[in-house]
């Protein structure tokens, strides 16, 4: 039952990101050229609603569906890893025109060359895991 729920949430996410064109390389390029409000509208309205929902979840101390208390942990404090990692991610995001969610979605949509991007992304994650102790965080 729960497994099905995760699959359905993913399916819904896939449809939303595909239909909103957030999974389109062209929209990412357009965003970084500031030629359209579209992507800023998506991220901005997601954030506006997201901030309210997270605030409500924390404030109301609502329990999870399975009855456990919900604690949203803070991100670990640092500067270097976020700015350096973020910049490298941004370079890839703009070139591939896809972040990890859309990569899977585009596999489903049948744009087969995206599988090369996926393989690159797995290799990148692997390389990070191997080098992480040598990197400044």
């Amino acid at each position: 039952m729960k497994n099905l729920a995760y699959i359905l949430i993913g399916t819904f996410l896939g449809i939303v990101l595909y239909k909103s064109e957030a999974a389109s390389w062209f929209r990412i390029y357009e965003m970084f050229r500031f030629d359209s409000f579209h992507m800023y509208g998506i991220i901005g309205s997601a954030l506006a609603v997201g901030i309210v929902l997270v605030f409500w979840i924390k404030k109301s101390k609502v329990k999870s569906f399975s009855g456990e208390p919900i604690s949203i942990t803070d991100k670990e404090k640092s500067f270097t890893r976020y700015i350096v990692g973020g910049t490298l991610f941004g370079l890839g995001w703009a070139l591939a025109g896809a972040c990890p969610g859309p990569i899977y979605i585009l596999v489903g949509a049948g744009h087969w060359p995206i599988i090369i991007v996926l393989i690159g992304a797995i290799l990148g994650a692997f390389t990070y895991g191997v080098l992480r102790n040598k990197l400044p965080h």
Binding site: S45, V62, F89
Partner: protein
């Protein structure tokens, strides 16, 4: 309506809803940690303790990935009779200058994402490097668009703000400084 591109003011709130649903299920919205799980499944634990994780505890997120693949299939094949992305005319002109004649006509540029484009080794190199930067960068930064820009910023996390600033520094450098070098003739 369903078959047209969905407007931002529908799509954005729906993404926030997905994030909230996952929180209420006791999980967190983040797509890039799956890349690590794939490494662990592939035996990367032999190379670094970082990948020695309990794969079972990550199974739910792999199911979200499976779902998103299904969603991509449905979105593309059932819900989008016209896949062309209506980007701004300014963007189209700029892309044509860079050699992307498919701008405004397709969902992804055929110059990079068609089977014919794969006959050019340069395209393989571009896609592989792009993916590598995505995978390396997101794990270094501890999250991607879903984990930082949506989940982290919704929780008003300063680290996520720093990461998102990084996303934009990288994206702007790529599009404005590197694209003319990579794609310009």
């Amino acid at each position: 309506m369903l078959y047209q591109p969905w407007p931002w003011y529908i799509s954005g709130p729906l993404i926030a809803l997905i994030m909230a649903l996952l929180i209420l299920m006791g999980k967190r919205f983040g797509m890039s940690s799956n890349l690590e799980t794939f490494c662990s499944i592939g035996g990367a634990g032999k190379f670094s303790d970082y990948f020695k994780i309990d794969i079972k505890s990550k199974r739910w997120n792999l199911l979200v990935v499976l779902g998103s693949i299904i969603g991509g299939f449905l979105g593309a094949h059932w819900l989008s009779p016209n896949p062309a992305v209506d980007i701004s005319p300014k963007t189209i002109i700029k892309l044509q200058e860079l050699g992307f004649d498919s701008a405004g006509k397709t969902y992804l540029p055929t110059e990079l994402f068609s089977l014919e484009s794969l006959s050019d080794p340069k395209v393989w190199v571009i896609l592989l490097i792009a993916g590598f930067l995505v995978g390396f960068g997101t794990r270094y930064a501890g999250g991607c668009t879903s984990g930082h820009a949506i989940s982290g910023l919704s929780n008003l996390q300063r680290p996520s703000l720093i990461a998102v600033v990084g996303f934009f520094i990288g994206g702007l450098i790529m599009v404005h400084l590197l694209f003319p070098l990579i794609f310009g003739s």
